[in-house]
Symmetry: C2
Subunit: 199 residues, 2 copies
């Protein structure tokens, strides 16, 4: 339906095909964009195209970067004997924001999901195993999501690594800090109980 | 903080400056965009730039269009004696979607809001009054939002138009279709009571 004009319609359609943006948000965004200074809109588009053309995977950890090796992998002060395994670059970013993790990462670029047809060969697992062979790794911390796919992936990886003798750990699952017990689901409560630590 | 690489960081920053997009959605969008085929990303950017350069206000009703006069104003079969006054093009689109309104529109491009420093001179009110003088208008339907700003604008416009003798109406305010009375706020319930119609 031609609710807007031709070019507005086209823009709204393009925007609403993006993930998490429905037709209403797309309308609001389109409206916003055409009211911005030309220069600002051009900067946004340049930034999109530039990232699309020049961002690729780090040759070591497979996070997204525009250099051959990402800033974390090329940072001499990071502890290369500890690898945190995450599903994607956004999870890496979440842990980097804490500022307290000094090891390196391995970004799987996905999680094993039989439902979605994603098997172990579809994520960067072979690359992780290769890293474990060549480097002097002391610990692999599995920080995949606490979802069905994340847990499946964690189990799979730990079984794969155990024979190598390298220490494998999993980040704790439990009540989030500041969380009210009464608002937490039962599975999380049971996890928190199982994972209790002595004080 | 350099959570992503330079170009990813820049893209996430650009995206999170858009309305309704926080840093997390921006991260997800950036991640999505750099995985799309080059051609698709280019089409999105072309569409943004094209709309930004070529979409402007309709010379008659001030909706957004890429022609001099919008498809609705130039449509001979629309009833030009009835003007629906809306705040923006998205509101026009919402009424067009019903497919039942055959009159024309006037898009104010805003609403009077003393709080935000938007006065009657900042919206397309003068242009509406000019239209009322020159055309053979029978009715003006005020369809501004049911917010404080929308109501203020509706009152202001109706006072302005009344002396001209043209019929001024306001769209009904009440319980939305499918709405459960128990979930509706009190002001709406009172409005629905005040606006009751005989059966």
């Amino acid at each position: 339906m031609n609710l807007y004009s031709g070019k507005m319609n086209k823009l709204v359609e393009e925007l609403s095909s993006l993930p998490g943006i429905g037709s209403k948000s797309a309308g609001r965004l389109a409206d916003y964009l055409i009211r911005q200074p030309s220069q600002r809109v051009k900067a946004l588009c340049d930034s999109i195209l530039d990232a699309r053309e020049n961002v690729h995977f780090c040759r070591i950890c497979y996070t997204l970067t525009d250099s051959d090796i990402c800033p974390i992998c090329s940072n001499e002060s990071r502890d290369r004997s500890t690898i945190m395994v995450v599903e994607d670059t956004r999870d890496l970013a979440a842990y980097e924001k804490t500022g307290k993790y000094n090891g390196v990462y391995h970004v799987l670029q996905g999680a094993i999901s039989p439902m979605m047809g994603v098997g172990p060969a579809d994520i960067r697992l072979k690359e992780l195993m290769t890293r474990l062979q060549s480097d002097d790794i002391k610990e692999v911390i599995i920080a995949t999501n606490s979802s069905l796919e994340g847990e499946t992936t964690a189990m799979y990886i730990s079984k794969l690594i155990k024979p190598t003798g390298i220490k494998v750990t999993r980040i704790a699952s439990g009540v989030p800090v500041g969380g009210d017990l009464e608002n937490i689901d039962e599975i999380t409560l049971l996890r928190a109980l199982e994972g209790r630590i002595s004080l």
